[in-house]
Structure formats: C-alpha cells, structure tokens
C-alpha cells in the first residue's frame, strides 16, 4: 500500500514536475553556460557543450568594455523608474477616485481604463511614432517615459482599486467626522494603508518597463540612447558576426536587476498578479 502511494506520487507529482523544471531551466542554464565559455570553446564542436570546460570572464569583460552596456542599463533604469513613478502617482489618484469617490461617470471611466489595457502596442506604435515625432520627442528617452504609462496605468489602477476595496469605508467616514478634509484623508489614512498595494504595483511597473521592446525599438535610433534589450540585439550583431558570448553575458547581466527586485518581492508580485486577475 505504502509503495503504491509512493509510486503514484512519483508519477503524478515528481516526474511531471521534474520534466517541467528541466524544460523551464534548460534555456537559463544554457545562457549562463555560454557566458562563461571563451569563444574558442564555444565554437569547438568536439567538446561537450553541456558544461564549461575552462570558465572565463572574458565575455563579461568585453561586454562592459567594448560596448556601452552600462549606458544602456542606465537608460533602461531611467526609463523604468521614471515611468513607474509617473504611473504610480497617476494610477493612485485615479484608482481612489474611481473606487472611493464614486463620482458621476466613475463606472464608465473604470471600464475605459480596462479597455485601454487591452489595446496592444503593435496597434499603437505607428501612430505613436507619428505623435512622438510631432512632439519633438523623437530619439529621446522621454518618449519612452511618456508612452510606457499607457500600458502601466491601466494595470496599476486595477490593482490599486482592489486594494482600496479592502479599506473599510467606516475608516474614512470616521476621519471625516474627525474633521479631516478629503485630501487629508487621502494623505493621512488611505496612502499609508495602501502601501503594500503600491509596492506590488511599483514592482509590476518596473518589470513591465524592462520588458518593453517595440516602442524602444521604434522611437530610439542613436546607440547611446538605447535601452538594454535593443542595444544588445542591434549592437552585438555586427554584420554577419554574432557575438554570442557577449550577447549571453548581456542577457544575463540585464536580467539581474529584474531578478533581484523579483526575489525580494515575490509575494508582492504574485499578490499583484492574482489580485488583478480576481478583478
């Protein structure tokens, strides 16, 4: 009996899980693997490529010295943080207004924001390019800082609306009787209480900004202003030569900030995702 259960457990649980983990982690492994191989080893067909024979930091070094990788990282950070800040502030206000203030038209506004989330960037990028050009923001990081909120705000607003729902109305009513103006209530009562939500939303925005590619590709042309994903793909492939080692090094290094933020805030991330879905 016990053996049957163990076998059943193995088949139903461990095997599929192991298979999935292999599927999931293999690309990461391959990436990390490649980073530490020298070009010679990389292109040597006789060696077993599944492990590193003589590890080297050469790729990482060349990434930092032969490209302006750090510049790209700085650009990406700038855009991500700025867009996140803008989106958080704007979404916080909007979510409070829709969820709590319940003013005339808050319903349709909420729906409109939901719909905005569903419009994909591939539909918007051409006319946006047009608009960005007209606003003289072409080839400027500000173009990204202003356009990223279009997909960050809807999600954040949703998430924060969920958070506001969990703050009892009585608390605000009590504050009103206590003499606080609505703005004071927002600052002194609501804001401190929704910090976890703001944190989740902020992490999401940060991650989503790092994830963006199309707008960054379309609106930025000069090398010095590129964001990391764009820079890596366009600059590390010179002619027909693919600098795979450096490419993988770039991919790895660029993943680090996001992975770090993620690892510190996993709970918030998951809470954010599932909270929004429940809405």
């Amino acid at each position: 009996m016990a053996i049957e259960r163990v076998v059943s457990k193995v088949i139903k649980f461990y095997v599929p899980l192991a298979a999935y983990l292999a599927f999931l982690l293999f690309p990461f492994y391959w990436m990390v693997n490649t980073v530490f191989k020298s070009d010679i080893e990389l292109y040597n067909m006789d060696l077993n490529p599944l492990y590193v024979h003589s590890p080297t930091l050469g790729n990482i070094v060349s990434l930092f010295t032969e490209t302006i990788f750090l510049r790209w990282m700085a650009n990406t950070f700038f855009v991500a943080i700025s867009a996140t800040l803008i989106s958080l502030v704007v979404s916080l206000l909007a979510a409070y207004a829709i969820q709590r203030l319940q003013f005339k038209g808050s319903g349709p506004t909420g729906v409109a924001i939901f719909l905005a989330y569903l419009v994909p960037q591939t539909i918007l990028f051409i006319p946006l390019a047009h608009t960005i050009f007209k606003l003289k923001l072409w080839d400027s990081l500000w173009a990204l800082v202003l356009t990223y909120p279009t997909f960050l705000i809807p999600f954040c607003t949703w998430l924060l609306m969920g958070y506001f729902k969990s703050i009892p109305k009585e608390m605000e009513e009590c504050a009103m009787i206590d003499g606080a103006s609505r703005i004071k209530i927002f600052r002194r009562i609501i804001l401190p209480l929704c910090l976890p939500g703001v944190l989740s939303a902020g992490i999401f925005c940060f991650t989503l900004s790092w994830n963006e590619y199309l707008y960054a590709l379309a609106f930025i042309s000069s090398t010095a202003k590129k964001t990391v994903p764009i820079g890596l793909v366009t600059e590390l492939v010179r002619g027909d030569v693919y600098h795979w080692g450096a490419l993988m090094a770039g991919a790895l290094c660029a993943s680090v900030p996001v992975a770090l933020v993620y690892s510190f805030f996993v709970e918030h991330y998951v809470a954010g995702m599932t909270g929004a879905l429940k809405e």
Partner: protein
Amino acid sequence: MDAIAASEHAPRGPGLRQRFSRSLENPTILGLLFVAPAELLLLIFLAYPFLLGLWLGFTDTIVGREGSFIGFENYAWLLEDPTFWLTCFNTFLYTIVAVILKAVLGIGLAVILNRDFKGKGLMRAIVLLPWIIPTALSAICFWWLYDSTFSGISWTLMKLGITDHFIDFLGNPWNARWSLIAANVWRGVPFFTIGLLAGLQTISPDLYEAAEIDGAGSWKKFRKITLPLLTPLLTVVTVFSTIWTFADFQLVWIITKGGPAGATHIFGTLSYQRAMQGGQFGEGAAISNFMLPILVACVFIAFVFLRRED
C-alpha cells in the same frame, strides 16, 4: 457649548480659498480632478494614437511626408499580397497553438503545484522566472539555443540518439514556426500557472472530499469539480493571453525577424517591417488594423463572460 465649537462657528464669509477647499470636498469635483492626469495621459498617448492609427490605414502616408486619403486601397493591396496571407496564417497558427499549449500545460502545472509540499514557495518563485525575465533577453537566449550549428538542444538530442543531424531550427519554415511557438509557450505558461493556481486555491477541499466519498477518481474530480469552477478565471486568463500572443512582436522579431522568407511573420512584425523599415506608414497601419476585429471579439467575449459571472 465647547470652546472649540464656538470658535469654529464664528461667522466668516466664503473667501476664494474657502470656496476652493469646499469644492475639493465635493466627491465629484475631487474625483474628476484625481482622474484627470490618468485621462490626460491616456487620451494623448493612447486614445488619440488609436484613432490616428485607424485613419492612417486609409492614407498613403510614408515617412517624412503627410499622406492623403486613399480609401481602402491599402487594404485591397494587402489582400492581394501573398506575404500578407502568409502572415495571417502564421498569426492564427501561432496564437491558437501557443495559447492552447499554454492553457493545458498551465492547468496541469497548477494542479500539480496545488498541494502542500516542502519548498512550495521556492517552486512557485522558480516557476514564475520565465515570465519575469524580460522577453527580449529570453528571446536572445532562444535565438542562441536555436542556432543551426551550435544548438544545445540539437547536441543533446543527437547524443540521446533521437536525431542524427543538427536541426535547422530557424531556417526551415515549419521548424521556425514550431520553435517560436515553443519559445512563446516557455514564456507564457507561468502566467497561466500562477493565475490558475490562485484560482485552484479558492476551491474548497470539502468539495473534493465529498466527491471522493461519492466514488470519483482523480480524472472525474478534475472534470466535474476543478474545471467548471476554474472556468471563469481560465476564460479571463485565456483572453488576455490570446490578445497578447496575437499582438506579439518582440519574440518573433528577435528570433526570426519574420523569416525565413516571411514564414514566421505575424501582424506585428510585418507591420513593423513595412512601416519602420520600409517607411510605409499607411500600409503598416493598415496591417495593424487587421488585428482589430479579433481583438474586439476577444474583448467582447471577456465582457460577456465577466458580466455573466457577476
């Protein structure tokens, strides 16, 4: 009467400042004020471009030159373009297969993860990794992984004796399609998994216990309890995934750029190629606009379903 109250009710006329702060107490005024920044941003950078995009599809705008209205010419032209039809086919294939695979694998994984075991938190964190890592970076990784000469997959398969030559992942049209689908699924399963896992956790274990007493086996329990209760959430998640997959860009662009010979072009990549690289804004916009009916249909389905659940 209390001293405070007395001082508060000393007569004073409404100055401008008073009127201003009084109006901020009005939920409608404050509400509109609070919502204004969001509306402004979305109006300028989303609503307006959206409408502009619709308009551009009807013009012959090219880079640097304002276009003029040409009616349905773009669309007519596209409908005669074999590459466009190929793109249509690719997009639908890509979306349908990838979403189905993601859903199935996602549900499966969610069910597996839904029990309590040591390291559950860690497992959940690891499972989410592909979703967290910026798509472009994992696309670069797959790009390398699919290299026709040095692919680790090919090497492993060859060593395992499953195949005898290096697979041309990206040079052969059908291989390229499947490779892209695989990459998309790799990236997208976590979204389904975590979302559905949360849904599974809301299903009370009592239901399963009652079913067990009634004699239901695992599969029956899954079909009669899990699936029906999970359907609303599954629908929402699927609709989102469909929209995102249908309107995908970076994964395909980085790995194949739509090649070989347009065999993996999807609407997004074709539109980019024609508009940004070819300069044909009007045509590019028209291609993008072809996505609208499907997206509207998806949104509609989502709404109908969500309304029903209310």
